[in-house]
Structures are given as structure tokens and as C-alpha cells.
């Protein structure tokens, strides 16, 4: 119970001449089921230590406030009330609204306790001035049972989800100033969502430029290229493709590792993720490559060509990107589009890509509302977007494709050899020219493809028509949000981005620059503290590695990061099926909450991650030898992976707490739990102080192993 805590009268506190912001800290009492907020540091410690009674825990919610009216010309006092003992609820209430404050003072159920802190008031349209953030209020509806309690939070997701717990949203009630730490915490989060990982230098660069300006600049940068490897024809006998581990290295001698494997491309991926300037464009391409899977071939040049396709088109329009994917010979080869022909001798057209272009790349399995929720029929059941008969019709549209012409190879429809440079060729002679009717049962409208059109006309039209259907925008944008920001976005977030997909403001559908900007600048993505219990996403193995390489400034050829991906079930560019490295629709089985990356997380993968980072940091001796990290003689461009020297952090190491705070800011948005901080400092103190590098590495190893870091939130 809080009533014995005397509110410090804030106006009496001494302030430095330059106004400093205080942090309002939110608590929740699991027994009372009440929220409580205070910006008074002494009161925060008292509640932390149990002086306010049992059951109070921090929610993680924090936002900055002014402590004096003089701190900002428009600062307004926030009145704080406590339920009058014996009469009102055992609860606190806060308001910046003068009228509400005056009314509440007259209410015998509430006792005025003084001014809690100062903030700005929202404008009539609920907007907040520059450099301030919205504070939302929700209400537990407890007045009638004398149990009124309100929650104040800067986290719009937490606010929106309070409805599930019976709270009524009351909208924006305050505008709170944004402190330096909040700006930086938000930038770190943005860099987790939009790049291959934050570095201290990049955080400062974004801060200097401003988040929006930096993002716009990134979206317009020239895209980094993969080294384009020449067409290469594997030997007729696979046995002739061998690695001869004697120098000098030439591409022909190192056939398995360097020509017939995605390894050189994957190594380049890690090198570029580590250092390329166009981080956002490359990260966007990385998102797309997890949706647009290809496989069943090994040639390095084919992987390079394909991945560059995604990079080059990843920020154009969805129609262009999907078209470039679908017309690539890599896709045609993988999804049996190549040499798919009309019904002949009791053999029907192949349905592989016909099904997946609908199920995975456009309309999905069931009709969706704009906010991503399923549309339901009169019986309350989801409505299928297509039927088996439509798969058959699309399979007929997808007839008449073959490999591109390869240097020196035969060129006819049936003779053309495997080859992956350029787009698939079409051949009207092997196209099913009869008319096709699709979706005739569908409320979203049927489609008729009349007799006699060309292969490419029907192909292009099909893609355009599928993207035009109403389920495509929410179906696609939800997956993009999940791959960058959060696994379980609120319907409102999906809807806001889906609307941008439908119309970028200039009437264009599928403008990907606009879509990614909307994803990354949405209120659900931005903010210093994300406290909703269902917010965030598990870091996938690839990004778990790139973030470590960047934060620790590791010099690497990319080989060991690539090799470790195999151990973690994310072997780069070799997803096992068209469903990707992990199922997009995986949910936590008991809670039934979307959690795609958990499809490849388990007891073994947890130990893997601790060990992999341990391995990267210490180049330990078990079970791999240190030679494993050195340049590999059989691999082109192999220079090895250096052990991080931690040089940037050594100046902070004399005081471990200072160093730990730096790591906390860079790796945890400054949100290091007190218990974890204590554990890490205890562990570090067991290592002699003169082993500063080992101490720093131990700190990092423990942070990277923690659930707090594994989940990006």
C-alpha cells in the first residue's frame, strides 16, 4: 500500500540550471491489479525495495517528464491523487487537465497529493509537439466497484492491447518530453529492425542526421552488388567436381566449395552485412530472400544472380519484385515451371508454383480483412481464397517456360540446359492457350483469361491480378513486419501498413519504399520502451550473427558465420523448402501467439547460440580447433575470422559498471534488468582486473546468451 509514502513536493527539489529530465517509472501490483507511476527517484527505490507493500513490480514502462514548470515554457503540472482511505479506491490517479484536476479535487473519494511532474498537454487533435511523445491513458472501468485505476503508457502497443484485459482506451492524455536516452534507445531498436545490427558509431550518425532523414537517405542509396560470377556448367559427371586442396586456388580446381555451392555468395553476404553502407537496402533484400525461396541447384553464379535480383528490385514495386522472382530460371527450376506443358497423355500441368504463388506470395489461404484478421463466413469459419480447381487453372497459365539460352548450349524448349543467367524464355507452342477461369466462386471476383493470349501476357496479368486482390496487402505486409519488427503486430499496425501498400498516396499499389517506410516509422515500431508482453521477435540465427559481428567489429571473411548457420538450421540461401528456413505461420503452441523464428529454436539451439558466441569471442578449443577460424586453404577469398580485440570498449573497462552500461545501451536499449546486471558484475569480478579483454568478452557473452537479448523488442 502506498498511502504511507509521502509524495516529495517536486517544486522544492533543487535543480541544476540546465533543466534535466526525470524518468517516470511504472509499477504494477499483481495482487491489487493496479498500475502506479512515479518520477520521484526516492519513491521508485522505496517501491522497488518493497516499502510500498508486496506485489509491486516494474512493468518496464518508463518515460521522461519535467520536474519543474520552468523546464519548458508550455509545461503543465500533473495533479496526483490517491483514493481517500475508507472512501475511495486504493489507487492513484494523475491528470494534466486543469479542469479534471479541479473536479477531482472536489471528489471526496480522491485526496489530492500534489504535483507529480510536469508535461505538455496534447493539442485539440490529440497530436503532440515536436520532441515530445504521446502518453496514452486507459481505464479499468472500476469506478462502480470503487476500484478505479488508470494506466499511463508511452507504448501504443501496450495501450492497444489493454482492451484485451478489460481496460477502456481513453486516448492521448499527455505529451512527454523525449530524453537523450530515449532517442538513442529508439535508434538502437531501429537499427535492429532495419539494418544488420547497431554500432555505437551508427547510433550517433543517425542521431546527428535525424531518424527520418537517415531512413530516407538509406532508401535511396545505390545498392551494393554481389560479385557477379560467370556462367558455369557443372561437369556431366558430378564426381568430376572435386576440391583439390593444393594451391594455387583457381575456381576450376576448387569446384565443390567455390563453384557448386552458395558458399562464396553467402560469405560475401556476411562481409557486406558487416560493412556495406546501404544497410537498409541490404536488410530489405534479406527479408525478401526469406520469402522468395529458390533451391534445387548449387551453382554459385546462379545464387549470386538471384540474390542480386532481390537486392535490385526489393524497393521497387511488389509487382516488379514478384515478377522478377517468378520469371527467374532459379524459381522456374525450383518450382517446376520450366517445361511445364499442357495436359498431354494423361499427364496434367504441374501445380507446384500455381499453388504457392497464391498460398505464399499473394493472397494466402484465407480471405483477410485489411487489418490481417481472417474474414469469416456465416458459420464463423475462414473463407478460402482459392479452390483446387483454381490451382489447376493457374497451373495451365504457367505453361510454356524454359531455361534461358546459355553460352554454347542448345536452345530449344526441350534441349536447353540448366542455366540461370537472365529470365526464363517462353514458347507459345508449349503454352495451354485455352481460356482459363479463376475464382468463379469468390466474393473477391472471378477472372477470365480468354483464349489465345501469349505466355508472358497471361503471366504478367496473373501477377497483377493476384496483387490487386484484397487479401494480398495485409498478407504480405504482416510478414514483412514480422521479419523486421514484431511477431504479433496489432491489427491496427497491419492495417496502417496495408493501406500504404494499397495506395502510396499517389495512387500506386505496392510501392515498396513507401511500405518499408511505413513499417519502420509506425508508432508500433518506434519508441524507447516496448513493454507489451507480446511484443518483439526472436532474433533469427543470421541476424544474431550479423549483429554480433557489427557490435564487436569482427574482421571476417564470412566463412564461419556461414558455417554456423548450418548448425542453427539457417544455412544461408539453402532453405529446405519453399516455406523458408522456418514456418511463417509458426505459433507458440500453448499461448497460440505468432512466433515464426521459434520454428527453429529449441533446447539445442539455445546451447548452440551460447556456444557460437563463446566460440566467436574466445576462439575456444572445444570442439573446434583454433585453426577452424583461420583462413581455409580450400576456400576462395578466405582470410579467416579474427577474434574480436574489444579495443573500442577497453577504455571503459577499468570500471566494469561503466562498460556494462555501454553494452546495455548498444545491445539492450539500455534495459538491463537489475538482477542480470548483478549477475554479470559478479561473474566479471571473478576474472582478474588485468584481463580486461576477457572481462569485456564475458559481459558480451552473457548478454548475448540472455533471453533479453535473444528477443529483439
Amino acid at each position: 500500500l502506498l498511502n504511507f509514502l509521502k509524495l516529495t513536493v517536486v517544486s522544492l527539489l533543487a535543480f541544476p540550471a540546465q533543466a534535466e529530465l526525470a524518468t517516470a517509472v511504472e509499477f504494477y501490483n499483481t495482487q491489487l491489479k493496479h498500475y502506479f507511476l512515479t518520477a520521484d527517484a526516492a519513491e521508485v527505490s522505496a517501491v522497488d525495495s518493497g516499502a510500498a507493500g508486496p506485489g509491486w513490480k516494474r512493468t518496464g514502462g518508463e518515460f521522461s517528464v519535467y520536474l519543474a514548470a520552468s523546464d519548458h515554457p508550455a509545461a503543465q503540472p500533473v495533479c496526483r491523487f490517491y483514493g481517500t482511505p475508507g472512501r475511495g479506491p486504493n489507487s492513484h490517479f494523475y491528470t494534466v487537465n486543469t479542469e479534471e484536476c479541479a473536479t477531482t479535487k472536489k471528489d471526496l473519494g480522491w485526496t489530492y497529493e500534489g504535483i507529480a511532474f510536469y508535461v505538455l498537454t496534447p493539442a485539440a487533435d490529440n497530436s503532440c509537439a515536436a520532441n515530445t511523445q504521446k502518453i496514452f491513458r486507459s481505464y479499468n472501468g472500476g469506478h462502480s466497484r470503487n476500484d478505479a485505476n488508470h494506466r499511463f503508457t508511452a507504448d501504443p502497443t501496450a495501450h492497444e492491447r489493454m482492451a484485451k484485459r478489460g481496460y477502456q482506451g481513453e486516448g492521448v492524455m499527455m505529451c512527454a518530453p523525449i530524453a537523450d536516452w530515449e532517442v538513442e534507445a529508439d535508434i538502437v531498436r531501429l537499427l535492429e529492425q532495419a539494418t544488420f545490427g547497431p554500432t555505437e558509431a551508427l547510433v550517433q550518425a543517425v542521431k546527428a542526421k535525424g531518424l527520418n532523414a537517415w531512413l530516407d537517405e538509406q532508401l535511396l542509396m545505390n545498392v551494393t552488388q554481389y560479385t557477379q560470377l560467370p556462367y558455369w556448367r557443372p561437369p556431366d559427371n558430378a564426381g568430376q567436381c572435386i576440391d583439390d586442396n593444393s594451391p594455387p586456388i583457381t575456381p576450376v580446381k576448387y569446384c565443390v566449395s567455390n563453384l557448386n555451392s552458395p558458399k562464396p555468395v553467402a560469405m560475401e553476404f556476411f562481409r557486406q552485412a558487416q560493412s556495406a553502407p546501404d544497410q537498409v537496402r541490404l536488410r530489405v533484400a534479406h527479408v525478401w530472400h526469406q520469402l522468395f525461396i529458390v533451391g534445387n541447384f548449387a551453382q554459385a553464379y546462379a545464387h549470386a544472380e538471384f540474390q542480386q535480383r532481390l537486392r535490385a528490385n526489393g524497393l521497387t514495386t511488389y509487382e516488379q519484385l514478384l515478377g522478377k522472382y517468378a520469371i527467374s530460371p532459379q524459381l522456374g527450376h525450383f518450382q517446376n515451371l520450366i517445361r511445364n506443358v499442357p495436359e498431354l497423355n494423361g499427364i496434367k500441368p504441374n501445380e507446384n508454383f500455381a499453388r504457392e504463388i497464391m498460398q505464399l506470395f499473394t493472397i494466402g489461404l484465407t480471405e483477410l480483412n485489411e487489418d490481417g484478421s481472417p474474414k469469416l463466413d456465416a458459420q464463423g469459419l475462414p473463407i478460402p481464397t482459392y479452390k483446387q480447381i483454381d490451382v489447376g487453372a493457374v497451373a495451365r497459365i504457367f505453361t510454356g517456360f524454359t531455361y534461358p539460352q546459355n553460352p554454347g548450349s542448345k536452345s530449344t524448349f526441350w534441349d536447353a540446359e540448366w542455366g540461370f543467367m537472365g529470365d526464363m524464355r517462353t514458347d507459345l507452342d508449349w503454352h495451354d492457350r485455352a481460356d482459363k477461369r479463376l475464382f468463379l466462386f469468390s466474393e473477391a471476383g472471378g477472372l477470365v483469361f480468354p483464349y489465345g493470349s501469349t505466355v508472358r501476357y497471361e503471366f504478367d496479368r496473373l501477377i497483377r491480378e493476384l496483387i490487386a486482390r484484397p487479401s494480398t496487402p495485409p498478407f504480405i505486409v504482416k510478414q514483412l513486419i514480422q521479419k523486421m519488427v514484431t511477431s504479433n503486430p496489432t491489427p491496427g499496425y497491419v492495417q496502417r501498413v496495408a493501406r500504404v501498400f494499397k495506395d502510396n498516396g499517389s495512387g500506386q499499389r505496392g510501392d515498396l519504399k513507401a511500405v518499408f517506410r511505413a513499417i519502420l516509422l509506425d508508432p508500433e515500431a518506434r519508441g524507447a520502451r516496448k513493454i507489451d508482453p507480446e511484443y518483439g521477435r526472436l532474433r533469427e540465427p543470421t541476424l544474431y550473427w550479423t549483429a554480433a559481428l557489427r557490435a564487436l567489429d569482427v574482421q571476417t571473411d564470412g566463412l564461419q558465420p556461414y558455417n554456423h548457420g548450418w548448425q542453427s538450421n539457417m544455412p544461408l540461401f539453402l532453405a529446405p523448402t519453399v516455406f523458408g528456413y522456418y514456418p511463417a505461420d509458426y505459433v507458440l503452441p500453448v499461448q497460440q501467439i505468432p512466433a515464426p523464428e521459434f520454428g527453429i529454436f529449441n533446447t539445442s539451439e539455445f546451447l548452440n547460440r551460447v556456444n557460437q558466441m563463446n566460440d566467436l569471442l574466445f576462439h575456444n578449443l572445444q570442439p573446434y580447433s583454433t585453426a577452424w577460424w583461420a583462413a581455409q586453404p580450400g576456400v576462395l577469398n578466405s582470410t579467416g575470422t579474427a577474434a574480436p580485440d574489444m579495443a573500442a570498449y577497453l577504455p571503459s573497462m577499468p570500471d566494469p559498471e561503466v562498460a556494462l552500461n555501454r553494452f546495455s545501451k548498444l545491445l539492450l536499449h539500455g534495459r538491463l534488468r537489475p538482477a542480470m546486471k548483478k549477475t554479470i558484475l559478479n561473474a566479471v569480478n571473478k576474472i582478474p582486473a588485468d584481463e580486461a579483454v576477457n572481462r569485456a568478452k564475458l559481459m558480451v557473452n552473457l548478454i548475448l546468451s540472455s533471453p533479453d537479448y535473444q528477443v529483439q523488442r
Binding site: 507480446e534 526472436l538 514456418p583 529454436f601 529449441n602 533446447t603 548452440n608 578449443l621
Partner: protein, 455 residues
């Protein structure tokens, strides 16, 4: 040695962020006999991608093979010559059958009555009729023919697609009640977490196919000791205010706790079963080798009942099927053969039953590119010393396009044996009482029992 792990704590935590609905179910008492004296284990082998059952088991009688030969023609690239098939004669039906030429171990097991074939098994909301389905009076499973949905539903046994726990995980929920003090996980997956492995209260153990299930050396003993203690403490002392962090925590705790038991089992240099897999290199063979080593070390876990899950992927043979399918079945056959020898060496052949199944069969009608597309009903298999083998359970399909068993005109067979009818005998054999069966198989009551008592 018995693992010490505060299992009540982990279950409480799991409940903390869970809908209240399932708690009541958890509290129900198991009807399983306590302190069962014998050891029993169930292994499921999932053939991921949709195994082409119609090229796995083929009718050898002249009418049956003629029907096959007509649709799966030479031109389709799928045809297997009658002379190449491995002939088997079920004791309970007159029809002669042929196994795919790769399945030599399967044939030996069938002939020695330790392999049962379950025919036309698949997912259903309730028993179906062709007329009812085609007229729309009867419901199909949700998103029929979609891999992701059918894999989920076969493993969850929910044709409506709502349930996300699996029948393996729910079996483990019940088996853990047998010995609540033993926190070693009842279910072990060697292929990560799938719907099958997830329970409401049990947390599946996922093991790698390497011998490394431990925290590695951190360079110096000081560092290693400090790191190990701190990792455990960071996990143990965390406030759970996020559902994803909670999930990481639960899996991390279980992994850290189990590693002390598992590590010596996987690194047992004196293993008598590991050498049996030495000549095999496939992922499936390594998964089964790991299961065999865990069985060898079962005394260390203290468990009397265990569930294992392995997965063989690659069955989505839309194109170039003949070679791919032969390779996959060869791998399956050889790996299970080695596993069988391991069971013999461990003298537990009668104590382990293996079930082999897939998310769906494939269209009988071939596709361009010498492949097949997604189907429905399919063959499944049960193997083991306790299995009443040499028989076919469930009725054989009439392989006529647009015929009585076809959901359409391309040979996607309407199942006549449900996943529940397939799973129930094995669950009963494991000791699950009647009262607990609906918890594991919620839709069991929709189907007649008794025709699939293969074990």
C-alpha cells in the same frame, strides 16, 4: 543418475502466461498405471512433404496393377515395372501387394510380421463420403492440400486447424504425470520442435545430431566457471514480462538442466549402437543414431516411457520424382534397418514401436515434369516387435480417377482411416487409459475403433 530440475516451477511458469482453459485438463488424473515396471517407447518418423504412397505400396494383382499402369504410365516417368516391385502377401486380404524396390528392409519386416501397413490414412473431420464431400455437405480439413496446414493438422490431429499442440506432446503431458519427480523430458525430438512435439505442460527436449549438447569451454577454467554459473543465473532469475522471453527461458532452462544427463549419453565412446550407423550419412540416419544412443542410455534418464520424434524431409516430389523418391525410400529403409539392429542389440525390440507417416499422399494422376501434386489419403506404417505385422489395416483404395475413392478426378484419395484410428492403438499400447485418450486425441469419438489394432 536422476536429473534434478524443479519441474513444478517450470509448469507453473508455463501456466502463468497461458489461457486458463487448459489448466483444468492438466489437473485431471492420469489413468496410467503408476510405476510401470516395463520400459516402452514410441518413435514417430514423419515423412515431410507428402510421400507418394501410390508408388510406395502398389497392388500386384493383375487388375490392380493394370489400373496403376494405365495412370502411372511409362510416359509419366513414374512407372515402376511389376517385376521390380518387392512382392508381399498380407495375411488378412487376398490382394497381393508390391513394395517400392528400395524397401528391402520393409519387406523383410512385413514377411516376419513385424511391419503393418495402414491403408488410406489421412486427416478427416469425421468419416467422409464422396457424395457428401462433393455436394459440400461434409467438411474437408481446413486448407486441404496445403503442406503447412496438413502437416500441422496431422501432427495436432485437429482437422479444423485450431489446435497447435501435437499428439506426441499431449502424450508426453500424460506420461510425465507417471513420474512427476523426474523432470527429464519424456519427449525427445531430434529434428527441432514441430506441432507433434508440443504439449500443454511438457516441454520437448530437442537434441542435435552431433554429440554436443553442453556449454563449451570458454578458454580458461576461470572464465568457463564464471560463465556457466552466470548463464544459469541469468536464466533462472529473470522476470518474465514477455511471452517470447518466457519461451526462451523455458527452453534454456530445460536445455541447461538436461545437458548433464544427455552429454555422457551422446558422447559414450563405448556405445554398442553407434557403430551400426557408421556406414550411413544421411540426416535421418544421424537422427535415428541419436535416438538409439538415447535408448542405450535410458537408465540415466530414469524414464519408463519415452516418445521420440524424427523427421525426413524432401518428399514434395513435384518433379523428377522417380530418382528422388527412390533415394528417399532407400535412406528411410537403410536407416530404419540400422535402427532395428540397434534395438536388437539393446534387447528392446518389443519395447519400442515405430510409426511412419506423412502429411498427405500425392495425386495419382501424374504431373508435367515427371512428378505428382498434393493428395490426401496415404499409406502409413507401424514397425516393431510388438506390432501384429504382415497385415494391411484399413481398406485399400480403388485407384480409379474420378472413381469411388477420388475427391475429384485426379486421384486424391478420400481417407478411410483417420489419424486418430492410426494413433490410438499405439497410445493404448504405451499404457494410456481410456479416460486419457480424448485428451490426446480430441476427435477420437468421431471414428469407429477396432479395425486398426496393429499393436
Amino acid at each position: 543418475m536422476k536429473l534434478k530440475l524443479d519441474s513444478p516451477t517450470r509448469r507453473r511458469l508455463l501456466k502463468a502466461l497461458t489461457a486458463a482453459g487448459f489448466v483444468a485438463a492438466v489437473e485431471r488424473q492420469t489413468a496410467l498405471a503408476q510405476n510401470a515396471p516395463d520400459y516402452k517407447a514410441l518413435l514417430t518418423v514423419f515423412l515431410q512433404g507428402g510421400n507418394d504412397g501410390d508408388n510406395t505400396v502398389i497392388r500386384l494383382d493383375s487388375a490392380g496393377y493394370a489400373a496403376y499402369n494405365k495412370v502411372r504410365s511409362l510416359a509419366s516417368g513414374l512407372n515402376i515395372a511389376q517385376s521390380k516391385l518387392l512382392p508381399i502377401q498380407p495375411s488378412n486380404v487376398s490382394t497381393a501387394l508390391g513394395l517400392h524396390p528400395s524397401l528391402t528392409y520393409f519387406k523383410r519386416q512385413f514377411d516376419s510380421k513385424q511391419l503393418a501397413i495402414i491403408s488410406n490414412m489421412g486427416l478427416m473431420v469425421k468419416p467422409n463420403t464422396r457424395d457428401g464431400l462433393l455436394a459440400g455437405r461434409e467438411a474437408t480439413p481446413v486448407n486441404l492440400f496445403s503442406h503447412s496446414d496438413q502437416e500441422l493438422q496431422l501432427q495436432s490431429t485437429d482437422a479444423k486447424g485450431n489446435l497447435r499442440t501435437g499428439w506426441g506432446g499431449r502424450l508426453a503431458d500424460r506420461l510425465e504425470l507417471l513420474d512427476p519427480a523426474n523432470a527429464f523430458p519424456v519427449l525427445t525430438s531430434i529434428n527441432g520442435l514441430k506441432a507433434f512435439t508440443s504439449g500443454n505442460t511438457s516441454i520437448p527436449l530437442a537434441l542435435p545430431t552431433t554429440p554436443f549438447f553442453e556449454l563449451f569451454w570458454a578458454g580458461t577454467s576461470q572464465l568457463t566457471l564464471a560463465r556457466d554459473a552466470a548463464v544459469n543465473e541469468v536464466i533462472a532469475n529473470m522476470d518474465v514480462d514477455n511471452v517470447y522471453m518466457l519461451t526462451v527461458k523455458l527452453l534454456a532452462e530445460e536445455g541447461l538442466a538436461a545437458s548433464s544427463v544427455v552429454k555422457p549419453i551422446l558422447q559414450n565412446a563405448a556405445s554398442v549402437v553407434a557403430p551400426l550407423f557408421a556406414n550411413l550419412s544421411s540426416d535421418l540416419s544421424r537422427q535415428l543414431a541419436t535416438v538409439a544412443m538415447m535408448l542405450e542410455g535410458r537408465a540415466q534418464t530414469g524414464l519408463k516411457r519415452q516418445v521420440f520424434f524424427v523427421n525426413q524431409s524432401g518428399y514434395d516430389t513435384h518433379g523428377g520424382q522417380a530418382q528422388t523418391h527412390a533415394n528417399l525410400l532407400t535412406d528411410l529403409d537403410q536407416a530404419l534397418d540400422a535402427f532395428d539392429k540397434a534395438l536388437t542389440r539393446l534387447q528392446i525390440k518389443n519395447n519400442l514401436t515405430t510409426l511412419v507417416y506423412s502429411e498427405f499422399g500425392r495425386s495419382f494422376k501424374p504431373s508435367a515434369g515427371q512428378g505428382t501434386d498434393h493428395g490426401w489419403g496415404n499409406f502409413a506404417f507401424a514397425l516393431g516387435g510388438a506390432v501384429k505385422g504382415g497385415q494391411v489395416y484399413g481398406s485399400l483404395v480403388t485407384q480409379t480417377l474420378n472413381g469411388v475413392d477420388d475427391y475429384g478426378n485426379e486421384g486424391r484419395w478420400i481417407p478411410t482411416t483417420s489419424i486418430e484410428q492410426f494413433a490410438q492403438p499405439a497410445l493404448t499400447w504405451m499404457g494410456v487409459g481410456e479416460a486419457d485418450l480424448p485428451y490426446i486425441l480430441p476427435n477420437l469419438a468421431s471414428f469407429v475403433r477396432g479395425k486398426t489394432n496393429y499393436v
